[in-house]
Structures are given as structure tokens and as C-alpha cells.
């Protein structure tokens, strides 16, 4: 420890006044007020990208079938072992119902077959993990905007929250949320197939969100309920998603 501090300070000490400030950065990283200041950049990133990216476009880059990765890398939860999920698996997801509720005029419920009968969109896109790696796969599903239009948004609707079946800790199930600009984007789909096959359990069977202009942690797997809200403050840790509650930015377009 002493050795580490010496080397760190030796490095930092060499660069003058700016460096002196840095020597306290480990302490600063813990400070809630410093976090608040640094997080202004996340707000600026969101506002800046919203000037460029709306519900109408542009589209995330799409790729050729030849670009599809030999295997799609599974990450995060790969199997929600809850009793409820096991029963769904045992029924081959025939008992699965996707619920659309919250600030909507007509709450809806869809079986997997119902969803498959709706107009489908297939897209070959790049999945970018916040860790740094990327993987290209082909997703088929129904556009989220289609379901939201069928349900009809009630006044005050601002966010679409995805409640999932997997538990990654924290005392609540995985969840994610997006704004309406991404919710109504044509590439935002509830995918039930990966590379032409029914969505594997490791990738979020039976339904996974694809929101292609954002990073991997927004692509919620095992989606059970879609909740339209005016705020996500009272859900989970209140930051809009499982990883957001761990300190990651809510807007993950960067």
C-alpha cells in the first residue's frame, strides 16, 4: 500500500498544480457532490444526442448476414432460476404473457404467438457492451412503438420501463427504462428470435429489448412487463435501471 501511494504520488507530483488536485481523486470519486458535478456530463451527453437522435431516426448501422458473429456472446444474467421462470420454460413459454400497463388507455397482454403474428422487423446490428467489446447478431421482433400505439399513451407518459424475470441482486428484479424517443424508434423491438432461431435462454428468452442506439445494459432480457410511467424514481433503486443503480449513466448512447 505504502509503495503504491509513493509511486502514484511520484507520478502525480511531477505534473504540477493540476496533478495535486488529482492525488485526491480517489477521495473525490467517493464524494456524492463530486459525482453530481461529473454527472452533468451525462445530462449533456443525453441532451446533445437527443438533438441528433429522435424517434424518427437516424437508424443504427445495420450489417450484412456475413458479418454475424459465429456465436453471440452472452453476458449478465444467462438463466433466471426463479420458480416462475422455470414454469414458463417448462411450458415452452406458451403460458408467457407480456403485459403492457401503466399510463396507457388500454392495458394489453400478449402471448408469444400473439407477438409473432404481429408485423415483424429483422435487423442485423452491433451489440456494444459498456465494457468495450462488440458483437453482431440478427434480431427479429415486434416494434415496441406498435404495442405502445395499440395501448395508447395516457397524458404524462414519459418513460417505458421494462420489468424482467432475472435477479442480479440488489433485492429487486432487473429492470430498465428508456424515453419515448427511443421507445418509438423503428429499430426498438421486442426480439423473440436471434440469428433466425427462437431467442435462447442465455439471451433473454422469450423476449429481449433491442434499443440499438444504446449500450448493452439497456437491452433488457427476460422482459415480463412493460410499464409506461411519468417517472422511475420509485422503481428499484430509483435510477432507471439495475446498472444505473450501480452508478452507470441512465442514457447509454455513449
Amino acid at each position: 500500500m505504502a509503495n503504491l501511494i509513493t509511486r502514484r504520488n511520484a507520478l502525480i507530483g511531477g505534473v504540477g498544480a493540476g496533478g495535486l488536485l488529482l492525488s485526491g481523486c480517489d477521495q473525490l470519486s467517493h464524494s456524492p457532490s463530486v459525482k453530481r458535478v461529473l454527472d452533468t456530463a451525462a445530462t449533456v451527453n443525453y441532451r446533445a444526442q437527443r438533438l441528433l437522435l429522435t424517434a424518427n431516426g437516424p437508424l443504427a448501422p445495420e450489417f450484412k448476414p456475413a458479418d454475424i458473429a459465429p456465436t453471440f456472446r452472452a453476458n449478465g444474467s444467462t438463466y433466471p432460476g426463479t420458480d416462475e421462470y422455470k414454469r414458463l420454460m417448462d411450458s415452452n413459454f406458451s403460458t408467457y404473457r407480456l403485459v403492457v400497463e401503466g399510463l396507457v388507455h388500454h392495458p394489453l397482454s400478449f402471448s408469444l404467438d400473439d407477438l409473432r403474428k404481429l408485423p415483424a422487423r429483422t435487423q442485423i446490428t452491433r451489440h456494444d457492451c459498456v465494457e468495450g467489446w462488440s458483437c453482431i447478431g440478427q434480431w427479429t421482433g415486434v416494434q415496441l412503438g406498435l404495442l405502445l400505439k395499440a395501448a395508447g399513451l395516457a397524458p404524462g407518459a414519459a418513460y417505458v420501463v421494462f420489468r424482467c424475470a432475472d435477479d442480479m441482486g440488489g433485492g429487486y428484479l432487473y429492470y430498465e427504462s428508456i424515453d419515448l424517443a427511443d421507445a418509438f424508434h423503428p429499430q426498438t423491438i421486442l426480439a423473440y428470435a436471434l440469428n433466425g432461431q427462437p431467442l435462447p435462454v442465455a439471451h433473454g428468452a422469450p423476449i429481449r429489448l433491442r434499443v440499438e442506439r444504446q449500450l448493452g445494459y439497456k437491452q433488457a432480457k427476460y422482459v415480463m412487463r412493460i410499464q409506461v410511467t411519468n417517472s422511475f424514481k420509485d422503481i428499484g433503486g430509483g435510477k432507471g435501471g439495475f446498472w444505473e443503480d450501480q452508478g452507470y449513466a441512465w442514457y447509454a448512447g455513449i
Binding site: Q49, L53, D67, G132, W133, I136, E212
Partner: protein, 292 residues
């Protein structure tokens, strides 16, 4: 009469030591932008290495993860004897880098991580916090850079001080030799940037730093939708990540050379000139004494 009053005049063979000429070398905005840039780049480097550590492998093309060919990787491994080592692999060539890359100690315990704790921000493994620092300082860096460029255009800093003249370029061979022999300009020549200095600053400002911003933008899935040309220019997101890493390395290399040159040219005088603006011109004895 005057000759009697002045001892200097009756000793003309012993000239007074010439007074050191002090010039105003760096204007206020250059100094402010310089130090802000140094601070911002240090935070960006250290938080950037924290982000790299979250996946300490580099690829080429649109995509890449464990099963893809790697340009570079750092990881920890067990030797046959069961000892932990840090390995760095560059284009398939493997180097043992225990203690520095792939495996380093935290509180005396070996930990598998790309870059060691003392150079990452924060020191512990924390991608979310690394990203916080990185994006905040990326905006500050861009604002400072734009401010500097606008001021430089307005004040003709580029044309006066940085763009090499024809004479500069014709003398480039001599300048290279001077640098190799560690000969530093004196007198009039020391009042202006030499040609290699001009080229180095221009390459850093107009090639390396903009490349950092553009390859950084290419890693954003949102900006890839808005500006798909970025993917064409850098041959995909993973290539952009690799270029981002390598150009950061070139900027570190520039920094090392920059510090060495400051030390060789007289660190206190150089440092003072970038703090107060005032620079003592190293006297050129040959020019001062035509007979010498």
C-alpha cells in the same frame, strides 16, 4: 571628462557581462489553455486506462470479443508451476509483464488487471466511475481546445508562431541534427519555436488530439447512428477503440519528449515562461562577439 568618471570606459577590453534579455514569450491565453489541457489530458488518460481495464483486449473491425483475433491483450495466467503471471500479447507475440500489465499488486495482493492501480482513475476497478470522469473531462477538453483554436485564429498565433516558414522547412535537416546532438537554439533563434517544435505541436493539435475525439465518438452507438461515416473512416467501432488506445500512447510519447526537451532547455526558465509568460533568452556569445 567622462572617461575619468567611468571605470568601464578605461577598461574597454573587459566588457560588462551582457544583461540577459527577457522576452514575453507566451501570452495569457496560451498559458491558461496549456495548463488546463495538461490537467484534462491527465484525467482523460487515467480514467481512460480504467475504462480499458474493463475489457483489456483490442481488436480490429466492427466487432470483437474473446473469440476474435486480438491486436493486443493483457491478462493474468497461471504458469505450470501454479505461479500467477501478467501477460501482454501484441499481434500474437507474448511478453511477461508481471507487476505492470495483466497482473499487479493492490495492498500487496496480486490482482489480474490490465493497467496497475496507480495509473488508473479511480485506482480500484470501477468502470462506472471511470466513465464519469472520462466524459466530464472530455467535454472540458473539447471546450478548452475549441477556445484555444478560436483565440489562436483571432490573434494569428498559428500563423505567427506555429506554421513553419519556408526557411524553417529548408533548415529541417539542420534542426534534426541539432535535436539529436541536444544543441538548443540561442539568441535570436531561441525567441521563436524551431521547425521540429512547430511540426510536433501542430501534429499533436491537429492530428492526434482530433483523432482522440473522433475515435472516442466512434465508440458511441448513438453517434454511430448520427454519423455512420465515422465507422467508414476508422473501419468499425473496435478499430476506433484500438486507434483511440494507440493515439493515446502517442500523446504520452509526445509528453515524455516534451518534458525531456524542457529539462534540456532549462526547466526553470521554461516552466517560468509557461507560468508568467517571461522567458530569458539564452545568450548567443558568438553573435554578441563578432570576433569570437
Amino acid at each position: 571628462m567622462a572617461a575619468i568618471d567611468s571605470p568601464h570606459v578605461i577598461a574597454p577590453t573587459k566588457p560588462a557581462k551582457p544583461k540577459r534579455e527577457v522576452i514575453y514569450r507566451h501570452r495569457l491565453w496560451v498559458r491558461i489553455a496549456h495548463w488546463l489541457n495538461a490537467w484534462f489530458l491527465l484525467v482523460l488518460l487515467m480514467s481512460g486506462l480504467q475504462i480499458f481495464n474493463a475489457h483489456s483486449e483490442l481488436y480490429w473491425g466492427a466487432q470483437g470479443f474473446e473469440i476474435f483475433p486480438k491486436v493486443m491483450s493483457m491478462h493474468a495466467a497461471h504458469t505450470v508451476s501454479g505461479r500467477m503471471v501478467g501477460l501482454t500479447t501484441v499481434f500474437g507475440h507474448r511478453f511477461v509483464t508481471t507487476g505492470l500489465f495483466g497482473l499487479s499488486t493492490i495492498h500487496g495482493d496480486p490482482v489480474g488487471r490490465g493497467f496497475p492501480a496507480w495509473i488508473t482513475l479511480p485506482s480500484w476497478q470501477d468502470l462506472a466511475t471511470g466513465r464519469r470522469w472520462h466524459f466530464f473531462f472530455a467535454w472540458l477538453f473539447v471546450l478548452n481546445g475549441l477556445g484555444y483554436v478560436l483565440w489562436s485564429l483571432f490573434s494569428r498565433h498559428f500563423s505567427r508562431d506555429l506554421i513553419p516558414t519556408g526557411g524553417d522547412l529548408r533548415g529541417i535537416g539542420r534542426s534534426i541534427l541539432d535535436h539529436i546532438l541536444l544543441r538548443h537554439p540561442k539568441g535570436e533563434a531561441a525567441k521563436r519555436y524551431n521547425v521540429l517544435q512547430r511540426l510536433a505541436y501542430l501534429i499533436v493539435m491537429f492530428v492526434l488530439l482530433p483523432l482522440m475525439v473522433l475515435t472516442g465518438m466512434t465508440m458511441s452507438p448513438g453517434l454511430d447512428a448520427a454519423f455512420p461515416q465515422l465507422l467508414w473512416v476508422f473501419d468499425g467501432r473496435q478499430s476506433a477503440r484500438t486507434i483511440h488506445f494507440c493515439v493515446a500512447g502517442l500523446i504520452v510519447l509526445f509528453f515524455v519528449i516534451h518534458i525531456v526537451e524542457v529539462i534540456l532547455a532549462g526547466p526553470l526558465n521554461e516552466l517560468r515562461s509557461m507560468i508568467t509568460g517571461h522567458y530569458a533568452v539564452p545568450p548567443d556569445h558568438k553573435a554578441a562577439d563578432p570576433h569570437g
